[in-house]
C-alpha cells in the first residue's frame, strides 16, 4: 500500500473537496428580511400531566414599526451585539424599539477582542470577556450603559480572571442577577481531549468555586436562577446518549443531574422560573416537543405542555423577562408565565445579541 505522505494527504483532500463543484452547488437561500404579520398559530395540542393552559394570542404588526425580536418580546430596551468566539473588535449597542445603533464600545487595545457577553438582568449592565490564547486565560470586564443606552464605562475585573479558553456551544457565560457573580464554562488549552470546567466567581472579591464535572464532559447553556445561588446547565461528552441537564447549588456545592422525561427523551434548554420554584425546559421524546415544569421542591415533573412534533435539532434560544421565561424555536416565541404558555410567530432574525 502507498505510504502516507504529505503529498498524498494534499491530493486526497483536494480530490475529496472536488467532489462538490459549482454546477451542483445548492444556491444560498436569502436570509429572512421581510416583515411578517402576526399570525394565529395552529391550535397547539395540549397534554398535561397536571393542569396547564396554553393561551395563544395574535397582534397585527404595524407597518413602519421596527420588526419584532426576541429582545423586544422580553421587554429589553437595548441589545449589545458583537462578542464573537474569535474576538469582536467592537460592540454595538442598539435600541430595540428603533433598531438604531446608539453606542459603540471598542475592545481594549491589545486584547483579543470581545469573546463573550452576558446581561445581568437590568439591561444596563453587562459582563464581557477577552482572552489571551498564549497564556490560556480569560479576562472579564463590566460594561455599564447610561439611561439612553450610550456606554458609560468599561471596567476591567482583574480578580475574576479564569484559566482556560471559551468552551464550545452557546451561553458559556452567565451573569447572576445584579452582576455580582458570574459562571463561565471553559476547556483546557492542551492538544489532548478537552476537559470542561465551570468556574463561579464573585466579581467583587474574586472568590471562586469550581463546579466538578464528569470526565470528558463539557457544559453549555449556563443560566442562573433569580436567587443567584443556583445555576442550571447541560452537559455532554463523547459516548453519552444525549444531553444531561444539571443543577448546581452554590450554597451546598452540590451538582445534581436532572431527569426530565422517560428513557429516550432529550432536553434542549432550560431555565429556572422567576419564583425559583421550577425548572422550565423543552424536552423531546420521539420527535415530539413539550415544555415541562420540573419542581425543585418535589424533584419531579409537575406540568407539561405539548408543542407538537418538530425536528430534533432545531436551534433554540431562551431569554428571561422580568416575570416570565421566553423560548424561541425557529420563528416562534413561547412565553411561559406560571403554567400558562403564550405563543407568537415572528421574524427569524431578531435573536442575536444579549440584553
Amino acid at each position: 500500500m502507498t505510504r502516507l505522505t504529505d503529498d498524498l494527504v494534499r491530493a486526497a483532500l483536494r480530490d475529496g473537496a472536488g467532489t462538490v463543484d459549482r454546477d451542483g452547488l445548492r444556491p444560498l437561500a436569502a436570509p429572512a428580511r421581510s416583515r411578517r404579520r402576526w399570525v394565529i398559530p395552529a391550535c397547539a395540542a395540549v397534554t398535561a400531566a397536571a393542569a396547564a393552559v396554553a393561551a395563544v394570542f395574535a397582534v397585527p404588526h404595524q407597518r413602519g414599526e421596527p420588526e419584532m425580536s426576541l429582545a423586544s418580546y422580553v421587554g429589553a430596551r437595548y441589545v449589545v451585539d458583537g462578542a464573537w468566539p474569535t474576538g469582536g473588535k467592537e460592540l454595538t449597542i442598539s435600541e430595540v424599539s428603533t433598531d438604531r445603533i446608539v453606542g459603540r464600545v471598542p475592545a481594549p487595545a491589545g486584547s483579543s477582542g470581545f469573546i463573550d457577553a452576558a446581561g445581568t438582568g437590568d439591561n444596563r449592565t453587562f459582563l464581557l470577556t477577552t482572552a489571551d490564547a498564549r497564556a490560556c486565560r480569560t479576562y472579564f470586564y463590566r460594561l455599564t450603559l447610561r439611561g439612553n443606552g450610550t456606554p458609560e464605562g468599561l471596567t476591567a475585573l482583574p480578580s475574576a480572571t479564569v484559566p482556560g479558553r471559551q468552551g464550545d456551544g452557546p451561553d458559556q457565560l452567565a451573569a447572576a442577577p445584579g452582576g455580582g457573580r458570574l459562571a463561565y464554562s471553559t476547556v483546557g488549552c492542551g492538544a489532548g481531549k478537552p476537559q470542561g470546567h465551570i468556574t463561579v466567581v464573585d466579581v467583587a472579591t474574586g472568590v471562586r468555586h469550581e463546579v466538578g464535572l464528569p470526565r470528558g464532559a463539557q457544559a453549555e447553556d449556563l443560566r442562573w436562577a433569580p436567587d443567584g445561588r443556583r445555576l442550571t446547565f447541560r452537559l455532554a461528552a463523547d459516548g453519552w446518549d444525549g444531553w444531561q441537564m444539571n443543577l448546581f447549588d452554590l450554597a451546598t456545592g452540590a451538582r445534581t443531574p436532572i431527569s426530565l422525561g422517560p428513557a429516550g427523551s432529550s432536553f434542549e434548554i432550560g431555565q429556572i422560573t422567576p419564583d425559583g420554584g421550577h425548572l422550565v425546559a423543552i424536552v423531546s421524546t420521539g420527535g415530539e416537543r413539550r415544555i415541562v415544569w420540573y419542581s425543585l421542591t418535589s424533584l419531579a415533573v409537575t406540568h407539561q405542555v405539548s408543542l407538537g412534533a418538530g425536528p430534533a435539532n432545531v436551534p433554540m434560544i431562551a431569554g428571561a423577562g422580568t416575570d416570565d421565561v421566553v423560548f424561541a424555536i425557529g420563528d416562534r416565541f413561547y412565553r411561559v408565565r406560571g403554567t400558562k404558555v403564550e405563543s407568537k410567530r415572528v421574524r427569524n432574525d431578531g435573536t442575536t445579541g444579549i440584553w
Partner: protein
Amino acid sequence: MTFDRSPTAAVARDAGTPGDGVAELFRVHHLALVRLALLMLGDRAGAEDVVQDVYARLHRRRRAVPDVPDELLAYARASVLNACRTLLRRRALMSRLVQAPDPVWSAENDVLIADDRRRVLQALLKLPPRQREAIVLRYYLDLSEAEIAAAMGVRRGTVKSTVARGLNALGERYQEER
C-alpha cells in the same frame, strides 16, 4: 489556494447592498466554504446546510462582523468549523438512533477517486474533530500556524502539536483502511 467565484442567487441580490461584506464574501467563497465543511463532515448535504446556516447568522449580524475582507473570511471559516464541530457532536450523540450519512467519497458512492486517496479520506473522518480541522486547514487550505490558530481558537503551539498528532493518527487509520 484559489477560490471559486460562482455567484448564487441570494448573495448576488444582497451583494448590491452597500457595505454588505457578508453577501460579497459568500458570493466569492461559497464553494470554498462548502468544500471546507465537506472535508469536515463527509456528506455534501450537511456541508451545504452548515454553510447556509453560517451565512444566515453572519448576515443577521452583518453590522458587527469584521469589515476587512480577510478578517471576515477568517471569521467565516472559524464559524463554519464551529458549526461542523457542533453538528459532529450532535451526530455522535444521536449515533445510536440515526445512521450518519455515508461519506460522499465512500466506495458505495459513484465518485472517481483513486483508492489510496479514498482511504486517506476515510481515515480522516475517523480522527477527532480537532485533529481533522488541523489537518484540513494545514494541508487543504495551506494556512499558516497563526491562521490555523485563529480558525480553531487555540494557541499557535497547540496547532503544531495537534497537526503532529493528527498526522500520526491519520497514518494509523490509513493503515487500518487497507
